[in-house]
Symmetry: C3
Subunit: 143 residues, 3 copies
């Protein structure tokens, strides 16, 4: 059984900056020699989210518009009234999208579709340094 | 430790066609002899999603209406302007719902509620052949 | 390899009552002596959801408003016409948020952010007794 974790560090610009994590997650799978199991991609923090999308500028712009409509930045938020940090919309967007994604690994490969990438969506209002945990669990290569 | 995966193939009609995966996932749990662990249900592809719902026609119709309101099919999408395939709404819906679900298995049984079913939501605009990965991880039956 | 599960029981008030599960999940990690792996938090039932948020009254109120706008309780639902139980909005909200969350455990600790808590959102229309499954999987302490 393999149980390993890598921590990815990256700088984001905030405001629904969307980053493709697929190369880093693929490399972690290869490094771990995991053959059959799962990889969990998790972002610590309450203003970022992890999901999948076709990573092309059109779909990314469409997702940002949906988030702007679901939780507009320029309205009143109870969080902002209490804490004054102006990121109430970031918190509720992150809660709906969720901070975690689990992808099966079969025969040493992520089971993603051809046009499906793993993304970090940084929903906060300013640039941040983010950590992403890549946790691998399952059976490794036979010795 | 058990680490096994099954691939389910099914034909969907698209346009928020919703399929009940529970019988297939339950059968995979039984086949695997997994006693305590997790099952991850994952759909490769960027225009489908996996979640749970009470699988009855009313709730399914209500979910389709919510998706139509969240991302209407008949508006402008940047994805469509770039690629001309008309499924921009499919991509953003899939990103919000997410492609993955993890359910604990305790004493050989899925821990679903009585009225809770595991569903695949095919959000694309036309019929498709889909694969679903059912990944099982944990402790098997004692020998 | 450690594969253990705890069942948490709690009473909720319904109508988007939001409960902080972090202390219980942290205690389960400590009890299990899991060092490296994952914890899956899952709510059986089709009218509740699990995600993360900064657990403070402002953000919780903002999330409730988003849910009220996404699926208002006081409109027509096909589920209600068929079953008369008045919780059609509960079902679709739960399907969008999802019933499951997976968090990595590294060096014996949940990898949550400082201001990030694991929450149960009870979306049903009345008080309920809920069970939450806390499933732990990975490598335990060295003997």
């Amino acid at each position: 059984m393999t149980a390993t974790a890598e921590t990815l560090e990256l700088y984001t610009r905030g405001n629904a900056d969307i980053r493709d994590l697929t190369p880093a997650v693929s490399a972690a799978v290869k490094n771990s020699q995991l053959q059959n199991g799962i990889v969990t991609v998790f972002c610590p923090g309450s203003t970022a989210a992890v999901t999948t999308i076709e990573y092309e500028d059109g779909a990314l712009a469409d997702l940002r518009r949906l988030l702007d409509e679901m939780a507009p930045p320029d309205r009143d938020y109870a969080h902002n009234r209490r804490w004054g940090d102006g990121n109430g919309h970031s918190h509720v967007r992150a809660a709906v999208l969720g901070p975690s994604l689990t992808v099966p690994v079969v025969d040493g490969r992520l089971t993603l579709g051809t046009w499906q990438q793993i993304i970090l969506v940084d929903l906060d209002t300013h640039p941040r340094q983010r950590k992403v945990i890549i946790q691998l669990l399952g059976e490794g290569a036979s010795p």
